[in-house]
Symmetry: D2
Subunit: 337 residues, 4 copies
Amino acid sequence: MKVRVAILGASGYTGLELLRLLLRHPQVEITALTTRRDESPHIAEVHPQLTGQLDLRLEKLSTAETAERADAVFACLPHAASAAVIAELMETDLKIVDLSADYRINDRATYENWYGVSHPDAGRLGKVPYGLPELYREAIQGAKLIANPGCYPTSAILALAPLLQAGMISAEGLVIDSKSGVSGAGRNPKPAFHFPECNESFSAYSVGTHRHMPEIDQVLSDSAGESLEVLFTPHLVPMDRGILSTCYAMPTSQTDSDTIHQVLADYYREEPFVEVVESPPATKQVTGTNRCHLSARVVRGRVIVVSVIDNLIKGASGAAVQNFNLMHGLEETTALI
Amino acid sequence: MKVRVAILGASGYTGLELLRLLLRHPQVEITALTTRRDESPHIAEVHPQLTGQLDLRLEKLSTAETAERADAVFACLPHAASAAVIAELMETDLKIVDLSADYRINDRATYENWYGVSHPDAGRLGKVPYGLPELYREAIQGAKLIANPGCYPTSAILALAPLLQAGMISAEGLVIDSKSGVSGAGRNPKPAFHFPECNESFSAYSVGTHRHMPEIDQVLSDSAGESLEVLFTPHLVPMDRGILSTCYAMPTSQTDSDTIHQVLADYYREEPFVEVVESPPATKQVTGTNRCHLSARVVRGRVIVVSVIDNLIKGASGAAVQNFNLMHGLEETTALI
Amino acid sequence: MKVRVAILGASGYTGLELLRLLLRHPQVEITALTTRRDESPHIAEVHPQLTGQLDLRLEKLSTAETAERADAVFACLPHAASAAVIAELMETDLKIVDLSADYRINDRATYENWYGVSHPDAGRLGKVPYGLPELYREAIQGAKLIANPGCYPTSAILALAPLLQAGMISAEGLVIDSKSGVSGAGRNPKPAFHFPECNESFSAYSVGTHRHMPEIDQVLSDSAGESLEVLFTPHLVPMDRGILSTCYAMPTSQTDSDTIHQVLADYYREEPFVEVVESPPATKQVTGTNRCHLSARVVRGRVIVVSVIDNLIKGASGAAVQNFNLMHGLEETTALI
Amino acid sequence: MKVRVAILGASGYTGLELLRLLLRHPQVEITALTTRRDESPHIAEVHPQLTGQLDLRLEKLSTAETAERADAVFACLPHAASAAVIAELMETDLKIVDLSADYRINDRATYENWYGVSHPDAGRLGKVPYGLPELYREAIQGAKLIANPGCYPTSAILALAPLLQAGMISAEGLVIDSKSGVSGAGRNPKPAFHFPECNESFSAYSVGTHRHMPEIDQVLSDSAGESLEVLFTPHLVPMDRGILSTCYAMPTSQTDSDTIHQVLADYYREEPFVEVVESPPATKQVTGTNRCHLSARVVRGRVIVVSVIDNLIKGASGAAVQNFNLMHGLEETTALI
């Protein structure tokens, strides 16, 4: 029997990517797509790529209607809006993957400070597994609600967590210089993402103020076993998709490239979606896949780890399906290979 | 003594390109920049590219104030808005280059039908020279007001007008298949020009309905000496700037590539900005310049002329400066080479 | 039981795309990858995208070795080289999809004239089905060898064949103005495809001389029931993948957009991969899929059909898998949705 | 009287950019273009962008011929080849700007170690001014030979040198994470720069091994007054031109964004080509110009300076013209604004 799936907020890029993946999932039936607007466009009007592939309209559904139509929900809603809806959905039998940031931050004050809003479901903070199976697979398997990670955090955490856990690098002075394709900014037209503005240009943005910084802090602190603060700088690359993070760290004792490579390779040996490779990777190696490629070097006494993911897949919708598979006891890689 | 220049509507891409060209013009002093909004941002806030190069703010100026501050005006306003302002400016001593479409169409009904608005200065239609020096240099030299051509029309007319004038090709059955970079769509963010929508994509648009079609009809009819209608199809190329038009025509008698090449080369022999080249040209050959490159072939009995221009320069701001130079008796190529 | 598949010449873009599709094919086991070079690199060295997904090396295999290792072959070899190998493979039990141009042209003189080589297996010309299921499904189903269509021809033929078959458009004066992403040029670095040369540029090439022109002639002549010659002009778009063809035709009698739309929609009603859509399509609508989107308009008495495909999938590897499925009696859409 | 200029090795991107700039230079006459090949193509065949603008052929010239034809030389030759030629040219009256790396490194062993060749003119090392006018204007003014800086070093040094000179940041632990457009890789087609390989992809390369690292070390050591070693990681951005460097440093005492901003602004107050701006800059702000935009932030106790330049202009040919102007006692900004 198939799992009936609803997607809340299906009109953006993560929604489209989820639909593409789920249409290939043999144990899934997509039964509802919601919108917060009053119009009910056919999904092929919203995503012409799906013409002839899915005959559903976007609908404005109540919690009860959603619960009746589906067994599981992917929530692709803006922050704060997401937790408001999920607080209600938690009263039903639905299993939920939340792709917003609402349940990623354990500390209410940190969330409210960085996101500038009051949390609509603050009581649940700290109790929702962070949906990075490579770190928290067991907690995900039994969960009813998962906080799907941010795209930048996924790329940075996969690069650094094993080295922090192994005590190979210092928790002090971590620098994460990240670069993302423009789809990470979402589908709403804004001046900064108007084609002739960002095409043929490369820029830094949100220097010191990006909301993914406390998320990275939190998860890497957990890996390090001590509270740490990273320096995270995001940049905009004139391409559709892909994130590359160049991570700089001080080793705790003298080391070399091979040793660091080996620690990472050992950590990810059984992982279906993480590869530790020799050459510095390009984002194109993982475009369209749920994979992360990592490469490490020791240069002038410091450790450099480069990681690449597809921001819309391993950084969003692919991870969401991976979590969905785990939550439902399905083969973890279904629809992802 | 320098010509004092005002730019009306300086915040778009044609405004920026005009400023870049005029900042290099030894006989020009830029004295005013206008906006129709209430804010008065510094030009470096609007165009960070100009930081440190021009110390002016955008201002909301009356006609009288503009006439006091400047000797000449470049109007980069939307259609209809432009003619409304220019009707007033014509009462002053200012010389005016209008970069909108308002004075390009000679026939009022055609204008109002294609642009869907009532013309605010219809009495002047048909009396304003069309600012393509390669066809109408004499009329431009004595003019007070010039209608600066559209970008697509410039590329198509330069390719076909000499062959029509020479009677080498039929006025019947002309097909103009044009491709433009995204800056041609202006600087206002819209879904179609959101980076992840149009990047890595190529599309046709406004098939059979683009407003440059009657403009091409009109000028090529003049060249042919008979009324003609072209089939014009624009397409969007994922790049900043450049237009390539592939033009298909029936020869009036049997001909070959060399003959057609020669007619074009003879026509443009003295022109400073048009080159007839052997190989099919790429838009990049003319990016950032006021030049047009043309190449012709006869294939299976039909004539194919390919033309390339930079849509923002020869297709807009460069042509405007070329017209300005002619109107003011300056060396035609000043600031353009 | 799975079909054991060998890919001859797996190091290019069509090879990579084939591998991606076949790795998802439940009835396929990839058992051999060949190269004509002496080195035997691991496939992950050739295509880092496949790291961790396929553990095979490229090998130099004889015909006998290939026949022993596989039940079916996809040949991604250069023209002439392909037919030389296939002539031998036809002596074995292998089923073969040839992605080269070698068996597409029925007439030996035409082939040798356009490709500039002697055909190594000329006796078979005219007896090999052209692998466009939308036109020749029955012939494909029983075949041992299929000539997989060229990318440009696929986009042009799907747009025009139904209208020619229905007698709606004239066989005279067809103009096909096509635009392709750069992957269509293959994986060998050449000056024209060096990033800073073709990025931010759009160009026409091979005007009147492209080898896909006689291929289009041949298939559309078959559809028209009379010998015809098209005017075909290819252009290079600064993007990875996608072809858009803008096709111009004279209707045989007065008609309108709805009528043309309907003829196309009726023709493709049962087709799993062709959609007739309302708005002029963008290549991005079909990127990464085996689909073709078509849109038609009648403008100023002439018919314009715009078609889009992914040149590497519906234009090459996807069509090859579709043909493979038909040849082996498998569900036609397997691995393609 | 004009300075007669020869360009050695005019067929690459720096050669093209030099020609564009020098064609606008009122005190320059371009009199010779050299090549090391036997063919003598017209410059318009090599750079179609220059059609109709410069009527010269590339020639194989001896030192004596060059000295006869020109008063000044720009050498755009590969490393080692450059110094071999310049060693001879130094015997003539020519003034020389060397755009290669040959005279940038003062220490012979360092040069030979990083460049892997024996230096053909090692005796001159350490005596040639480094052509960054913002740091070494006086030395440049009297010079006969200038070592034009590397593109990455220019972007990094302009960001960090004033802070090191002022003692605001530590010489320890500098991280320079740089991103460059593809034109920085030159005009020779290679697999890594084949359009479908690097388009829509972002990658790190030469991690810990890039030859610009010792060049940055050397100049920043000079600014710091002590020997230092930076961590420099270059990345490839899918765009034509532009470099952005994100530079991380430890302040020597507690500081804030405004203080750092002020030190930089004060340092560059009189500089015609460096602007210290508020918002993190985008490379597009300086594309096509000789300018550098800088922006600074203090985040979590560390200093981040972001700098942008056009790699072909301020990072190569524009700087070369700026140096040329200084060497010849011309207005420094001629042809550059």
